[in-house]
Amino acid sequence: MSFILSQAPPAGPVSITPLIVLAIYLCLLLGLALFSGKFFRGTSKDFFVASHSIGPFMLLMSVFGTTMTAFALVGSTGKAFQLGVGTYGMMASSSGLIHAACFFLIGIRVWSIAKRHGYVTQIQFFRSRFESSGLGYVLFPILVLLVVPYLLIGVIGSYRVIGPLTKGMFPDFFAATGGAIPSSITGIVICGVVLTYIFAGGSRAAAWANTFQTLVFMAMGVLAFYLISDKLGGLQAAIEQANPAHLVRTPSELEVMGKSGSFMRDIGISQITFLTYMFIPLSVGMFPHLFQHWLTAKSAKSFRLTVIAHPLCIAVVWVPCVLIGLWATGVFSENPSEAWPASAKGILGGLPDSSVGAVLSVTLKFLITNPVIVGLVTAGILAAIMSSLDSQFLCLGTIFTNDIVLHKAKKDRYSEKQIIMIARGFIIGIVLVTYALSLILEKQQNVFDLAVWSFSGFAALTSLVFASLYWKRATKAGAYACVLTVAASWLYFFIKSGGHEYTVGGVMPVAICFFAGAIAMVVVSLFTKAPSQETIEKFFP
């Protein structure tokens, strides 16, 4: 983004209509979420898990909206632009299979146990299953530290959308950014809107808002796809002008001509990377915010639609985004077709790998001239981002309140009102930390890389939840060994990579961390004392 923003502002006035459309969208969203607050029952259970009242459609929309973030819309387009056609198979089709498997094999079982025994958080579940209060104190910082990068990709993703969109709109106010709204203001608005509706109605408001936002981003993704393909002369013409090197997965190096000279870019994906990337979608099995969404379900039957429709929803969002990314390789080349705007020439040809997250918004800006449409599609991208942020903020407040503050407190020490206030206070703290970090890191990190590291940590921990549900012999010591092994191996690879994309001879680190955690769980459990009969009966009906 710094590359784009550092260019001179465009000549002539830039319409602020897209920004007005965005403002209207945000007002509508706030109105809907505040209305949902009328159903708030004032209890902490209602604030945290909507009193288990969410039906099938809203569960599908909120779960899908939560798993699809800047990663799906902004990241997928940029990744397809960067690597080529393999992006879809690497992340989307595997997610369709594995996410649904996690909902079916983990989600329904967790919901049943949590409902039967009254758990509100993931940590309560693990503490009880592994008969260990201390495990919660080990898991809490790990979960928070893994969610924070996930939050960052959302907030930074919004900067990468709003920056290019508003460039040239306010040259007198924001000269340093070429007239674009600075990230500091975008962050305040996005976080402020999300905070407002979470505070209004907790989990229910998040579910309502997510349903609305998921419908918006799916519809706007399809609209963007249609309009861009139409602008490029139809589906056939659009793909024909794309750089053909991006149509296959065979790894190769491509010389890219940038504004400051040529450089080499790796494209394609190796077989082993593609295979081991399949571990990443396992992350949904351990996302604490998804765990919380599962608990909002009215009944186990509410999961049916989510399990079946999730792979289809993924296809609806990802296929258009990947195609737009492929088309962009032709549009923004050194020699674009005569039919494309002259302004497109070379704009992205020389974009460094760390900035490809801006591909979608810049493609829109250069090809779609109708400001209302640009505003609507941008609203769709923000919808995808915010529908994840809300659940993550809420979940961090929930686990802090329940697993740290209330865990050792005597019953009735805090009133329902005080419990909700504590949750809100922690959420504000997390928002402030996320906001500060996003401003520090926005120019250094690729959105997609941060997401993969966050997902890798959660995915590697999935062996913990799977063993807790399906292996009676899984012990407290095994759980500690699993968590600590995953944390240590993840940290090792993260430090070694510098936070960027990294493989070990083509193997994704997540696969190594996952197996290390699973082996630690099995070996240590076999050599330590089995769980009590009472626990077995409680968790294995």
């Binding site: 056609v85 393999g86 879809y88 198979g89 989307a92 089709s93 595997s94 369709g96 299979l97 649904a100 498997a101 079916f104 329904i108 079982r109 919901w111 049943s112 146990i113 409902k115 039967r116 139809g234 589906l235 056939q236 659009a238 793909i239 053909p244 149509l247 296959v248 997965r249 065979t250 077989q271 593609f274 295979l275 399949m278 009944s299 186990a300 039957k301 049916r304 399990v307 079946i308 429709a309 999730h310 792979p311 289809l312 993924i314 296809a315 296929v319 990947v322 195609l323 492929l326 009906p541």
Partner: protein
């Protein structure tokens, strides 16, 4: 038995996901969608069908009843 069959099917799906035969195929389906993308988009549809079958034939009815407070055998 049902669980074993579904585990086997999921493993087969895992293998089908690694479509090495499409790796360097630059062809287009319907002249507009790269083969590698069309294959995996179809894979998503088939995955949805797989899970619909799982919901129909392997639904954890007993667990559901237990969660609702009913006594189960």
């Amino acid at each position: 038995m049902k669980t074993a069959v579904f585990v086997l099917i999921v493993v087969v799906f895992g293998v089908l996901h690694q479509d090495f035969w499409n790796w360097d195929n630059p062809g287009l389906v319907f002249g507009s969608i790269p083969v590698g993308l069309a294959y995996h988009a179809s894979y998503s549809v088939v995955a949805a069908i797989l899970w619909a079958i799982a919901v129909k034939f392997a639904w954890p009815t007993r667990l559901e009843k237990w969660a609702d407070g009913e006594e189960v055998d």
